[in-house]
């Protein structure tokens, strides 16, 4: 039986690429123009026609406002996010706010969601492969930067659906690169994948052996890529031009687009030559019927000087990743370079210096990711394939607990599938329901992480706080689908959700939810800072109050009995004051004394009882 073909798509920030495994051999499918990569650009022409790829790129200069590039920077982002804010300034096309705090793009009075724009590119890749294969293609593995969160991954899947593609798996770009690197080679080694693409930087460490690819660690920076290098060149050009003519070229959208093109071109050229000429005639009009030209020389040294901190930053991330994964540099046996930016000699040199070995030259930085995606597609659907990818979850997962803290249940870089559970308790007396807010991220504060979903578990027994126990279970399937279940351990009542899409909530909204849902909160057995301290103090206060009459009876007879009771009263008072003053330090001090007294009280009572 011929299994249905699965294509692999590298949906890049600047360029996209599609590949397929045929008869056990992965290969890139060239587009109609014979190019192996297609610009990730979408435009609406004057006649309303949609243009994708090379055609869109060619008309970009004259139609800058209606040409979308780098949509990947916006996909799955919230309107209020930093990435969107910075894009507003630099993108020549109009970015507007969507109804769900998401981002929309305005092209010729038509509003598009970002997944729609990405869908046009995916559709183009689908068409390219269908023309090549002569049959319909409906399934794909699509790659994303390792640091994409669930929202961005989901949006990418949505884009696939809009394009008529069933995205059977999303995998990380560096992981895909490693698959392509190790495919068909009988190797057993630890490798690092250094992926500096158009918009993001990723570093991944993998262990390869016997056809198994185990992702050990992955990290990156979503705001660091080739376009940052371009922008440095643009800034340098703009600055020089302003100094000479007193005109800010950035104010003119067409000039900006031309600058962008020329900067990218110069950057690429400087990977092979030492110096290049930048020539932009008639770049801007002065308003007195005359035009100015921009003409200058850019050397490789100058470019390296302009971008040295960017390269440095990637190396710092590499060092940190290795450290966190507790892997010694000299255990890395090969370094794979991915992404067009790794053609820059300075980048290669920095990598070689850091890892102490020459980066692997066997893989094509622009094609390797798509090839890897195709290999994973075949691994999943072709019974003959002997490849297995042991992928990891890119971000930690957990729930919000009392005080607005984030309690992690599954750490990032955990191999999937995986499950984890933890028991939480109620925060209030007679609390009959708990709200489970499922979050993803690395911050201790809930509102700084991404909200994946929420649900309420009701029907809890009325009891004192801390008495009712709720077990929360997380499961991540091999295809990265997160499901969460909350269970009342007493009654066995359950509630669960499968996290499928992300809601477009802002940090403010989550903050608001924290306030609104105080009554629904759950608490970790060991909570956080003040709330935790207060909680404990209150418990001790309750107990000590209940012991007072008994203890007073017992010790009042001794010489120091009255004295001791007075002291104990003072300690109780001190604790109460610290609670109302919300002062953690004095509360900790007071609680210590309180617990000491409480312990002695307990001792007194048990002594007389025994």
């Amino acid at each position: 039986m011929a299994t249905e073909k699965v294509i692999g798509i590298d949906l890049g920030t600047t360029n996209s690429c599609v590949a397929i495994v045929e008869d056990g051999t992965p290969s890139v499918i060239p587009n109609r123009g014979g190019y192996k990569t297609t610009p990730s650009m979408v435009a609406i022409a004057e006649n309303g026609k949609r243009l994708v790829g090379h055609i869109a790129k060619r008309q970009a200069i004259t139609n800058a406002e209606n040409t979308v590039y780098a949509a990947k920077r916006l996909i799955g982002r919230k309107w209020g996010s930093a990435a969107v804010r910075s894009s507003l300034e630099i993108m020549p096309y109009r970015i507007v706010e969507g109804p769900h705090d998401d981002v929309r793009i305005m092209l010729r009075d038509q509003v598009f969601s970002v997944p729609e724009v990405s869908a046009y590119i995916l559709q183009e890749m689908k068409l390219i492969s269908e023309e090549y294969l002569g049959e319909e293609v409906s399934k794909a593995v699509v790659t994303v930067p390792a640091y994409f969160n669930d929202g961005q991954r989901q949006a990418t899947k949505d884009a696939g659906r809009i394009a008529g593609l069933d995205v059977i798996r999303i995998i990380n770009e560096p992981t895909a690169a490693a698959l392509a690197y190790g495919f068909g080679r009988n190797i057993e080694r630890k490798v690092a994948v250094y992926d500096l693409g158009g918009g993001t930087f990723d570093i991944s460490i993998l262990e390869i052996g016997n056809g198994v690819f185990e992702v050990i660690s992955t990290a990156g920076d979503t705001f660091l890529g080739g376009e940052d290098f371009d922008r440095r060149i643009i800034d340098w050009l703009v600055f020089g031009f302003e100094k000479q003519h007193g005109i800010d070229l950035r104010k003119d959208k067409m000039a900006l687009q031309r600058l962008k093109d020329v900067a990218e071109k110069a950057k690429c050229e400087l990977s092979s030559v030492k110096e290049t000429e930048i020539n932009l005639p008639f770049i801007i009009s002065t308003g007195r019927n005359e035009a100015l030209h921009l003409q200058t020389m850019l050397s490789r040294d100058k470019l390296e000087e302009l971008t040295s901190d960017l390269v440095e930053r990637t190396i710092e991330i590499c060092a940190r990743t290795l450290e966190e994964a507790e892997i010694a540099k000299n255990n890395i046996e090969d370094v794979i370079l991915v992404g067009g930016m790794t053609r820059m000699p300075r980048v290669q040199q920095a990598c070689a210096e850091f890892f102490g070995l020459e980066p692997c030259k066997g893989v094509h930085p622009d094609e390797v990711v798509a090839l890897g995606a195709a290999i994973q597609g075949a691994a999943l659907t072709d019974e003959k394939s002997d490849i297995l990818l042991l992928d990891v979850t890119p971000h930690s997962l957990g729930i919000m607990i009392v005080g607005g803290y984030f309690h992690k249940l599954i750490e990032q870089n955990t191999t999937v599938p995986t499950s984890e559970s933890h028991v939480f308790t109620t925060v209030k007396d007679n609390q009959t329901s708990v709200k489970i807010l499922v979050l993803q991220g690395e911050s201790d504060r809930a509102e700084e992480n991404e909200l994946l979903g929420e649900f309420v578990l009701t029907g809890l027994r009325r009891a004192q706080r801390g008495e009712v126990e709720v077990e929360v279970q997380f499961h991540i399937s091999a295809d990265g689908i997160v499901s969460v279940k909350a269970k009342d351990l007493e009654t066995g009542l359950e509630q669960s959700i499968t996290v499928t899409a992300t809601s477009g909530l802002t940090e403010d909204e989550i903050k608001k939810m924290i306030d609104q849902n105080k009554d629904y909160m759950v608490e970790v057995r060991s909570g956080q800072e003040f709330d935790k301290a207060r909680h404990q103090a209150e418990k001790s206060l309750e107990e000590i109050e209940s012991l007072f009459p008994q203890v007073t009876d017992i010790i009042a007879g001794s010489d120091f009995g009255q004295d001791a009771v007075k002291k104990a009263r003072a300690v109780v008072e001190r604790t109460r004051q610290a609670i109302s003053a919300k002062d953690l330090t004095s509360l900790s001090d007071a609680t210590e004394a309180l617990n000491r007294t409480l312990n002695m009280f307990r001792g007194v009572v048990s002594k007389t009882r025994g």
Partner: protein
């Protein structure tokens, strides 16, 4: 000759430990030598190892060698161990090697294996599934693309996850490797096994109940691998580490350090004593250690450490007035007079009889109050 007994023996720990003979050990089957049997018979659990060695009348070195050998045969139990650890060792000494899924003993087990089974191949998974339960029977017959061998493998691993069937979860057995295998062996085993049981290997195919089983089994194997290769990160979840794996339990180690610390203290070397005491209470924060450490810290001029340890001790036994006094003294040394007074008052209130300690407390309190007012 008592000085010839070392404070501890490698692989066993402190000679102050009271070892006992393992009920599961059969000296006849193990064919011990007369001297060995004699020494074995001395371990009644009441005498310290040191005493047994001394009273044996054998040269200390010889006696130690025999004890080490006995231990390696699974004949002796540490105080913290339960009999089943060595019983398992002993069972395997006398029986076959098919029950390899059981927890493996210390290195010494290997030696026993070589004697009985000639070579120590890694434990093989028993896929015969004796006495299948209804759920397993259903799994073996339900419609699924999996072959019988594949089903048996998955069910056999699932059995390893069930404490009722195997006693305890052993991460080594889950991965199908010999205990103590090196990182490379572990990785290879994990990768090989992953290819058999990772859900992606059966993507989109009819699996029946095995869809869930695969996920559960793979998750457990992957966790076991993580635990064995990265114990720090997964330390919180650590289970199934056999007791016999460490030659000396933390408690024994603390006891040994404590003795050495006391020796320093008696010799007047408070500084070195404190270094050891600090380690002792970190390993095993029991009252006895905390109390001694706190007093030593006071003598060594380390009031903060004294306070920290006195607090811990007092928390553990709040109605002990002598600990309260120690705590008050530590508070005083740290200049926290109000706290000292409070503790002393409470201690006085707790104390019913008027004995020497009572008057000491009274004096202390008077002194503290004088300082407070002056």
């Amino acid at each position: 000759m008592s000085s010839a007994v070392p404070p501890s023996i490698g692989g066993l720990g402190s000679t102050q430990l009271k070892l006992r003979a393992s009920p599961g050990f059969d000296p006849l089957k193990a064919k011990v030598l007369p001297e060995e049997y004699f020494l074995y018979s001395r371990f009644d659990g009441n005498q310290t190892l040191r005493d047994v060695l001394l009273e044996s009348g054998l040269p200390v070195d010889r006696a130690i060698a025999i004890v080490v050998k006995l231990r390696s045969m699974g004949a002796l139990l540490l105080p913290t161990e339960t009999a089943d650890v060595t019983e398992k060792i002993a069972t395997r000494t006398s029986h076959d090697t098919t029950e390899r899924l059981l927890v493996r003993g210390p290195d010494a087990t290997e030696k026993i294996h070589t004697r009985t089974a000639a070579g120590s191949s890694p434990p093989a998974l028993d896929t015969s599934l004796p006495d299948p339960d209804p759920d397993e029977l259903r799994a073996l017959t339900e419609p699924s693309v999996l072959t019988d061998a594949q089903r048996r493998q998955i069910l056999a691993i699932a059995r390893l996850l069930d404490p009722d069937k195997t006693g305890r979860r052993d991460p080594w057995a889950l991965l199908g490797v010999a205990q103590g295998s090196d990182a490379q062996t572990l990785k290879r085993a994990y990768f090989k096994l992953s290819k058999d049981i990772h859900p992606d290997r059966f993507y989109g195919r009819q699996l029946g109940s095995f869809a869930v089983r695969l996920s559960t089994v793979f998750e457990a194997v992957s966790r076991a691998y993580e635990r064995l290769t990265n114990p720090e990160k997964s330390g919180a979840h650590a289970v199934g580490t056999p007791v016999a794996e460490t030659a000396q339990s933390p408690g024994e180690y603390a006891a040994e350090l404590y003795e050495r610390a006391c020796a320093f203290e008696v010799a007047g070397d408070h500084e070195n004593a404190m270094k050891l005491f600090a380690a002792v209470v970190r390993i095993d924060p029991q009252i006895k250690y905390l109390r001694r450490s706190a007093s030593c810290a006071l003598a060594a001029g380390q009031p903060r450490t004294a306070l920290e340890h006195a607090k811990k001790a007092q928390t553990k036994s709040p109605s002990d007035p002598s600990l309260a006094r120690l705590l008050a003294t530590a508070f005083r040394a740290c200049g926290k007079l109000a706290d000292a007074e409070e503790v002393l008052v409470m201690a006085m209130a707790l104390k019913s009889e008027n004995d020497a300690l009572g008057s000491e407390l009274r004096n202390d309190l008077a002194e503290v109050r004088r300082l407070l007012n002056g």
